[in-house]
Amino acid sequence: MADNYSILRKPLILGNKTYSDVTHDVCAPFEKKSSIAWWITFFAALSMLIVGIVAVTYQIQTGIGTWGLNNTVGWAFDITNFVFWIGIGHAGTLISAILFLFNQKWRTSVNRSAEAMTIFAVICAGIFPIIHMGRPWLAFWVIPYPNLRGPLWVNFRSPLVWDMFAIGTYFTISLVFWYVGLIPDLATIRDRTKSKIKKFFFRFFSLGWNGSNRTWSRYETVYMLLAGLATPLVVSVHTIVSWDFATSVIPGWHTTIFPPYFVAGAVFSGFAMVLTLMLIVRTVFHFEEYITIKHIESMCKIIIATGGMVGLAYATEFFIALYSGNPYEKFAFINRALGPFAWAYWIMVFCNIVIPQFFWWKKIRTNMILVFILSIFINVGMWFERFVIITISLSRDYLPASWANYIPTSVEIATLIGSFGLFFTLFLLFARFLPMISIGEIKGVLNYGKNSHGGSK
C-alpha cells in the first residue's frame, strides 16, 4: 500500500481509495438505516430545539420583558447569540471560497460540511435580530419595499439595515454556492438510489446533470465565479456586523479596530466549530480516511493564526483605551477586566488567547480528543467575547446613575439552548440526507500524493 504513495507529498485521502470506494463510503451514512447514535443525538437536538421554540413563543406572546434586559442593557444574550452564530458561519465560507481560490486541495474533505454549517449558523443567527424586536411581527419593516406609508423608507444610516442586507446577501450566496457544489453529488445519489421518491426528488434537484465534459466545465466556471462572489462576503459580513457597535457612541463599542477584529474572531470561532463538528462526523461516520489528521492539523494552525490576531486585537483595544486619554473609554476596558463581569472577561481571555497556544504542539494537534475539547473551549470563549463587548460595555456607560446589572432569565437561556438545538437538528438532518463530503471533488484530489504506480487502478 505504502508503495503507492509519493515520497514528496503527503496524500490527502488515505486508505488507498478507489473512485467507487469514495462514492460508496460517502453515500453510506444516508443509504443505510440510521444508527442508534444518530437517533439519540437527533432527539437530543430536537428536544433542545423544542425548548427554544417554547421559549421564543412565550417571549413573543408575553413581551421582551421575559428576558433579563433593562433600560441600560438593551442587548445581551440576543445579539451575543446573533454575532456568535454569524461568526460561526464564516469558517465555512472561508474554507469553501477562499481556500478554493487559493487552490488549497485539502479543503475538499471538509468544505461541504463547513458550508452546510455556514448556512445553518446563518439561519440560527438570522432568528435573533427578528425575535429581539419588541414587535417581531413588524420585522419586515426593516426591508425597504414600496409601501403606502408615505412611502416610508428604512433608515439607510442605520447599521441594522446594513445588517439586514449583509445577512440576506450572505445567506443567499452561501446557499447558492452550497447548492451548486452539491449538484454533481445529487446526480450520484439520483443514480444510486432505489427509492422512487428519492429518485424523483434528486432528479429534480440535480438539474439534469449527466456528468459530461461540458456539464463539468460549466459547473467549474460557475463554481469559480461563486467562490469569487463569496470571498468578499467573508470580510464584509462581519465587518458590517461590527459596525453595529463601532458606529455607536458607547465606550467599548465605539472602536475603529472592530471590523478586522471581528472578521478574525469570526474565522477563529468558525474554525473551532468546524473542528468540533468534523471530529464528531469523522468518528461517527467513519470518515477518518477522508478527514485526516492533516486536515485537523491544518485547521488547528489556522486557529493559532486567527487566535493570535484576536489576541492582538484585545491588546490593541486595551492599549488604545488607556492611551487615548478618554476617561470613559479607559474605564470601559478596566471595568471589563475588574468590574462585576470580570469573570466573563477572563473566561474570554483564557479560552481565546491561552487555549489556542496548545496547538503549537504537534502532539496536541494530533490528539483528536484534546483537539475536540480545546475546540469547545474556543467556542465558549468566542461566545463570551461577544457577551463581553455587548453587555459589559452597555452595563456601565457614561452616567453612573444609569449603570445597571444584567442577569439572564431562564427564557434567554432556553433560547440560546434552542439555537443550538436548531443548529444541530439541521446538521443531523443534513448528515442523514445529503453527502457530507463532496464526492466529486474528493475524486479530483484522490491521486494527490500518490506516485505513478498509485494512480487510478
Binding site: I64, V142, S158, A401
Partner: protein, 997 residues
Amino acid sequence: MSKNKNLKNDSEVKERANPQEEIVHLYDRRTFLKLAGFTFAGAMVAGCQQGNIEKAIPYLVKPEEITPGLAYWYTSVCNGCNANCGVLVKNRDGRPIKLEGNPAHPISKGGLCAVGQAMVLSLYDSKRLLNPVVQGKETDWQTFDASLKSKIEEVKRNNGSVRFLTSTVTSPTINASIHTFLSQFKDSKHIVYDPLSNSAILDSHKKSFGLRTLPKYYFDKAEVILSIDADFLATWISPVEFSNAYRSARKLNGEHSEFSYHVQFESRLSLTGSNADKRIAVSPNDYKNILLELTDELEKIAGVKNISNAFQPIIESNFKRKLINRLWKSKGRSLVVCGVNDIQLQILVNYLNSLLGNYGTTIDISAPSNQLKGSDEDLAELQNEVQTGKVAALFIYGLNPAYDIPDAKNFSGKLKELPLVVTFADRINETAEVSGFVCPEPHMLESWNDSEPSNGIVSIQQPAINPFGQVRPLIECLVSWSGKNQNAVDIIKETWRNSYFKLQTKEKDFQKFWDSALQNGYIEYSHAKKITSGFSKSSLNFIKNDSTLSESELKLVLYPKLAILDGKHAHNPWLQELPDPITKIVWDNYASVSHLAAEKLNLSEGDIVSIQTAKGSIELPVHIQPGQNEKTIAVALGYGRKGTDRFTNIGPNWLEARPTVEKGSLVGKNAFHLLEFENENVKFSGIDAKITKLRGKYLLASTQEHHSLQEPKNVDVLNGQARPIVQKLTLEEYLKAPHTQNLRKAEHPSLWPEEHKYTGYHWGMSIDLSACTGCSACVIACTAENNIPVVGKDEVYRNRELTWIRIDRYYDEETGELSISHQPMMCHHCDNAPCETVCPVLATVHSEEGLNQQVYNRCVGTRYCSNNCPYKVRRFNWFDYEQEDEMQKLVLNPDVTVRERGVMEKCSFCIQRIQEAKIKAKIDGTVLKDGNIKPACQQSCPAQAITFGDINDNESMISKQIKDSRYYRVLDELGVKPSVGYLKYVKNSSEEEKVNG
C-alpha cells in the same frame, strides 16, 4: 330569471327530495362566483376591523361649557397635606386628569409637590368607600342618618361626652361646622392631632409668647438658615411654599447675587440636608447640646446670660465661630428652625430666634400659619378619656387613629367599646374598620371646601367632577345631623358672606365677590394681629439639665417619607413607585443605618433586622445610608397600611416575576406603634432602640445601582477624576467671575454637514442644579401628563422603570465631606442625536424645531436607540402594563398616546403642550411668547429650576441661561449637541467663608 322563479314557491322547495341538487340549479356559475366574491370581500372587510366598535353616543344636549377635546381649568386647593397649595384642575371631557400649581396662589406660587400631583389618581381609586357604612354594612344616607341621629339623641339624653378628633383643619367652614355641631352637647371638645406632629412648636410658642400658634416662616428673607432636623424642602409644614422661598433667597445674579447660607444638623440624611451648604450628621441626642452651645456663644456676643444649662461642646470650634459670626451678622435676616417634636428644643430655638431678632422679619407670629394646629397633650388626654370609658361619642375626621397615633392598637381596641364612633374616611381604613358609623369622605376633586392655610389667605376648593357614589362632605353631614339640609357650597358661601365678604370693601355684591374668589382660587385679606408680648424668659426654665445624657447605643428616628407622608397616600401607586429622593428605593420602608453601624453590626443591604424599643419592635430590611449619623437608625412612617396588599400583583405577570408585595403582607411595615410620649409630646426622634440581625434577605428595589461620580474603587486603578457630569462651583468662585463668558469649550469643527436648520423654533431646556432640590415633583407631574404606567417593584428592581424624567442622585466625598447632588435627567433632544441615526425604521426622527420625536406606530423595538443613548433616558415597554385598578384608566391624558408593548418611548418635551400653545397662538393670531409653553416638569417645579423655551429667540429665558457662565452640557465632548443644559451647582461653602470670616 326563470330559475329564480323556483324559489318563490316555498312549498315546492321544501318538497324537493334532494335540496342539494336544487341549490346547484338555483345559481348558475356566474351568479355563484359573484356571490362568492361578495362574500369573501365582505368577510375580508369585516375581518379588517380591530375588535368590536362600541357605539359612542355623542351628547344629545351638550353641556353648555364643555367642548369635547378641549381642556377646562378650575381653581381649587390641594388637600394632599395641610399646606393647602393652590391648584388648577385640568378637566377633559368631564374628568379631571391633571393638577397643576396655581401660579397666582400666594402659598405655592405655581409649584405643586409630588403628592399634590398624584392626588388626581386617588380620585379614580375603585377601592374608595362610596357608601355610608353602619356596623360594617354599606347602606344609604337615609338609614344611616336615621340610626345615627337616634344614637346622637341618646348621647344627648345621657349627657355623654362628645369628642371630635381631627387632624389640623384649615377650613374655616369645617371648623365652624364642628363648633356648631359640638355646641349642642353639654360636654364636648374638638381635639386636633397631627400624625406627623409638630405640636412642640406650638406648645413652645405658648410658653415663650403666650400664643399657641405655628409661626409663619419666611425662608426668602433669611440670609442664614440654621435647621435642626427640619426637612422643610420635603415634608415639614409647607414644603412647596418653603422650597419656593428658599430658592428665591438663593439667586445667582452675577454681582447682585443673593445667596443664603444653609446649615443643617440632622441625624439621618434628609432631602433638605442634601441641599445644605454645610451639613453635619449628629445623633438626635446632640440636638439639645448643639442648641445650648450655639445659644451660649450668641449670648456671649449679645452680652446677656439667661441660660445656665450645662452642655458639652461638640461643634468643631472653627466652624462654630464662623457660623456664629454669620448668624450675628445677619441679625434679623437669619432663621433657626427645628423639626424635632421636643418642647425644650423648640423653646431654645425660639430663644435663638428672638436673640437674633428674627421675630417679625423671618418668623411671623402675628399672621401665623394654620397648617398645623395639633396638640399632643390633647391627644394624650383623649386617649386617657377613651381608656377610662369617659367618652360617649367620638367623631374622627382626617385622622386614622387606629393606625397613626402612639398606642394606636390599644386605642383601636377601645374604640370598639365606645357607644358611638363615627369616622369620616375615604376607605375602610384601620379606624373605619372598628367604627360603628363610617361616612364616605369625598375626594378633594369632587366636593366643595375652603381653607385658610395661613391667616389672611383663604382658598376655595371646588369640585371638578360629579361625586362618585354617595360620598358626602363632612359639613353636609354635620348639618344634616342637626336636622337641616344644606349643600356644602351653600354652607361655605354662608360662612364667607359672614366673614371674608365683610372684611373687604372693594366688592359690594357677594355673588361677584364669590365669583372672583372662585376664579382666582383664593382671596387675601390683611390679618396681622398686634403682638405685644416679647419672648418670655421664664419659658427657658423648662429647659432641663439632662441628668444622664444616655449614651445608649442606637437611637431610632421615625420620619415621614416625601411621597407617603403619614400613610394617607399609601394607596396611591404613583407615590409608592416614586423613588425616594435620597435612597431611590420604591415600594418599601426600611431601616437606614450608616456604613459604620452596618460594619459594626455586620449588616449588609437587604439584611432583615429587628428593631426593639420600649414600645415594641419592628422587622425591616436594612438600607445602608451614607451621610447618616452612626448612632441613628431611621425608619419611615406611613407604611404597612391596611389594604395595600392590593398591590401584590401590580406590574406585569410573567414566569419570573416577583410580587410587589409578598403574599399576605402589606407595602412596608407600620412604624407608628414605636412612637412614644415624652414630656407631653410625641417623640419621633431619638427613641432608644436595639437592633438584632435576623436571618434572611429582602430585596429592596432602587432605581439607582451606583451612587458616585467617582469610579468604583476596585476598578479605579488609575485614580481617575470624578466624572464631570454634575459640575459644581463654590459661591466664591462664582462671584469672582460671574460675567466671564461661558467657559464651555468651543465646539469641535464638525465633518458632519449642518443637517438641521431650525429656521423657526428651536426648543431647549435648562435645569438650574442650584435651584433643584430633588423633590421629585416633576417625576409625578410627568407621569400624570404622559400616561406613564406603574410597573411594580420587581420591574424597578430589574431597572425597567418607565419614568421619562428621573433624578440622578450622587453621593461624593468632597474634602472629607459627603456632598449630595440631584440631577434631573430626561431626553436631551440632541441636535446630532445618536438614537436617530441607528433606528433601522426611522421611528425616531428629528423635528424642524429640534425635537427628537419618537414615532410609536413605527417602532419595531430593536432598542438600538436606547443602547446608543449616552444619557440612557429612553424607556422601553417590556410588557403591556395593565392598570392595577381599571378605573384609574380615567386619569389618562387623551392628548398622549398610551404605548403598546414592544415600543420605545421617552420624554417628548411635552410636545402636546407645544402643539396646543402653537395652535392657540395661531387661532388668536398672536405669536408664541416666551414662557407660554411649560412642560409638565417645569410647571410643577416648586423651585422653578427648569426653564424651557426657544433657543432661537435671543430674548428668551433659555437663551439667556445658555449664555450664563454656569451653563454647561452633560457629555458635551461627545458632540451630540444636546438641547438640554444645566446650570452648575453652587455651594455657599467654606472657601467663601475664609474671605468673609
